[in-house]
């Protein structure tokens, strides 16, 4: 089974409070923030690796399985791919582009071209990138490909014949399980990296993964330099034209300070009279 994982490089999400808005609201400024892989995409890499290995030997993919990572971005984004290769992915594809010339629709169309070339059995990706939070690409990609999709996955079970997956999605009040015939698109949420959220019928049921995306061990970092990483211009995919333009960015209004109430009756009274919440 071949899995394609699209990755995006984003400004350090742990310091999102340092993002500024350019004068006039023209764009978001992330100067001085460290570029990091989008966390949901890291979870997608982790998911793809768990699907294609025996968890007791996470250094090797199962026979016949492979994980390809791809990104559209600046040349430096190859670092993000290298990191995924060091985690265990087999090969990387960088299509050089500037983030400013991409939108969700164009990215999905471009990914559809990558899928045509690479012919994966499954696309696993983050549910959204933490910079734009658009949450569109997985859905549009599935539509363009005519593939089934499941978004916000918190669990994935690969069938023994590798022809379908059962995807758990957290919703209000419980978990919905969807069965998808492959090929398919899955977008993952943060719980997908819980210790037992992926089942592939090879990793023993008793195996507990460490919570979160794995760290690339140093020998794998060294080995990753020998893995193939192809670079090509974005234009080589033959798609163009953004449909979204940003009108204006505004910082959210600063929150007002709260107040302290002396007892429950006052709380109730204020909730009713001032907050109009009751």
């Amino acid at each position: 089974m071949k899995i394609l994982v699209p990755l995006k490089r984003t400004a350090d999400p742990d310091n999102a409070n340092k993002i500024k808005i350019a004068p006039g609201g023209a764009k978001v400024v992330t100067d001085g923030l460290e570029p990091k892989p989008n966390p949901f995409d890291e979870y997608a890499v982790e998911s793809a690796l768990r699907l294609t290995e025996n968890g007791t030997n996470p250094k090797a993919r199962l026979a016949g399985d492979s994980v390809v990572v791809a990104t559209f971005g600046a040349k430096e984004a190859s670092q993000t791919l290298r990191q995924a290769l060091a985690m265990g992915a087999d090969s990387g594809l960088l299509f050089e582009a500037s983030d400013e010339n991409l939108d969700g629709d164009l990215v999905a169309r471009a990914l559809a071209k990558v899928v045509e070339r690479e012919k994966p059995d499954l696309v696993v990706m983050g549910k959204q990138a933490v910079d734009g939070d658009s949450n569109q690409v997985g859905q549009i990609l599935a539509e363009r490909l005519g593939w089934p999709s499941a978004t916000f996955a918190m669990s994935i079970e690969l069938s023994q014949d590798k022809k379908s997956v059962i995807v758990g999605r957290e919703v209000d009040g419980g978990v919905i399980k969807l069965k998808l015939a492959l090929p398919a698109v899955i977008t993952v949420d943060l719980r997908i990296v819980a210790p037992k959220s992926i089942t592939n019928h090879v990793t023993p049921q008793t195996h507990n993964y460490q919570e979160g995306a794995r760290y690339a061990p140093l020998p794998m970092i060294m080995a990753a330099k020998k893995k193939p990483l192809a670079e090509a211009p974005f234009a080589s995919l033959g798609v163009e034209g953004v449909k979204t333009s940003y009108v204006k960015f505004e910082a959210p209004p600063a929150r007002k300070a709260g107040i302290k109430v002396k007892d429950v009756p006052e709380l109730v009274q204020r909730l009713r009279a001032e907050a109009k919440a009751l």
Binding site: Q79, L218, I221, K225
Partner: protein, 392 residues
């Protein structure tokens, strides 16, 4: 895309991996292990899974075979979150593993390095004694050959990783001693394991000012029996081993200073924006600007010097004396001063634990003492420079 601080893409990935591991796994436990004065053995083993405990060890013995720049960045990243833990890492990775990897025989490496690389056993190096520190050649531990054994007698002091808990010895050590009757300059080195007859924990040293997440111990050798095959190199050979390995140690300690300084600058820089006084952010005040700007400039000067020295340091050859002393001389005091300015910028908030800089300030002080006092660096550099007419 590659630069002085990340000479190759592998260095960059390694830095990112260690930084991410450090932020998620090491940072949350740092304050507690400092307070309890306790080494986190479980976390150390987890670092072993990252494959960085044998950073410079030949891959043949399960190491990573990396260079001095990798040593610098690993120590810098670990120290930015927990200098005490980073010091335990240094003693194991450089003082034990790198030392044996450079100087040991194939059989010795086969026997000890794989366990060192995985973290299954923890290592350290024994040089200083209760009565011999900077004057290291004044050490008095002796060795005598008796049949198929060497018998060691003496005591070693300030041994990082000497204990893993209050009562338990560390696992394996490289011990410098002098063959009885040998001249002052002729030291020999032995591999001594926990469990060797006559080898014991004298005391775990308590009430340290800083670096409290690493253990420091006095180790006692009382007719300690060491098999002859545990002599590293030849008798009297080890002074060169020692001097050569101290070069990479000093580089590692300079890099630890950089981690401390970086963290302190980040903290004071952020605080100076957030905190207002007289209706203005602190960073609008000239006195605070001096703290921040000078700290940054000194940090970058030290960082550039350290990574430049790393690029020149060949782990297999001596010759890095002057600049390995130079980077530690400069960076250790720089880190202490930067930590001090960070506390000053934060005022009362800097003096207590919440913002970390108080701990980093305590940790920084050790770097002016351990691995060579700054006075030793000054002495050695001046001696080196006596041979130099013109500087490059």
């Amino acid at each position: 895309m590659d630069d002085l601080f990340n000479p190759t893409s592998e260095h960059r990935t390694l830095r990112q991996t260690i930084r991410s591991f450090a932020e998620k796994e090491i940072e949350p436990q740092a304050a507690e292990h400092d307070r309890l004065e306790k080494f986190n053995h479980a976390l150390f083993r987890k670092v072993g899974e990252l494959g960085i405990l044998g950073l410079t060890v030949d891959p043949q013995y399960q190491g990573a075979g990396m260079d001095a720049a990798a040593v610098a960045l690993a120590h810098e990243e670990l120290s930015a979150v927990d200098p005490g833990f980073a010091l335990a890492f240094l003693a194991h990775t450089l003082l034990f593993a790198n030392n044996l990897s450079v100087n040991g025989s194939d059989a010795q490496k086969q026997r000890y390095l794989p366990d060192a690389c995985t973290g299954a056993r923890i290592g350290g190096m024994c040089m200083s004694e209760p009565g011999a520190g900077t004057d290291v050649l004044g050490l008095r531990t002796t060795a005598v050959r008796k049949g198929d054994r060497y018998v060691l007698n003496g005591a070693k002091m300030w041994i990082t990783n000497g204990a893993v808990s209050d009562t338990e010895l560390g696992d394996m050590f490289l011990v410098y001693a002098r063959m009885e009757g040998a001249p002052r300059s002729k030291l020999s080195m032995f591999i001594v394991e926990k469990g060797f007859k006559g080898f014991s924990l004298g005391q775990k040293i308590k009430d340290k000012l800083g670096m409290r997440a690493s253990t420091t111990a006095e180790l006692v050798f009382e007719d300690c029996e060491v098999p002859v095959e545990n002599l590293v190199g030849e008798e009297g050979d080890a002074t060169v081993h020692m001097m050569r390995n101290l070069e990479i140690e000093r580089l590692g300690l300079a890099a630890m200073s950089l981690g401390i300084a970086r963290r302190c600058i980040e903290v004071m820089n952020r605080y100076a924006t957030d905190r207002k006084s007289f209706g203005q952010p602190l960073r609008d005040f000239g006195q605070i600007q001096r703290h921040i700007a000078e700290s940054y400039a000194e940090y970058m000067a030290g960082r550039t010097y350290t990574y430049w020295a790393a690029s020149k340091l060949d782990l297999d050859k001596p010759g890095g004396r002057l600049d390995s002393d130079g980077v530690k001389l400069y960076c250790s005091t720089m880190a202490k001063n930067v930590a001090d300015r960070a506390i000053q910028t934060l005022g009362g908030y800097g003096y207590v634990g919440e913002y970390r800089v108080e701990r980093l300030w305590r940790d920084a002080k050790l770097l002016e003492i351990g691995g060579g006092t700054i006075e030793a660096h000054q002495k050695n550099m001046t001696r080196e420079l006596a041979r130099t007419e013109k500087l490059p």
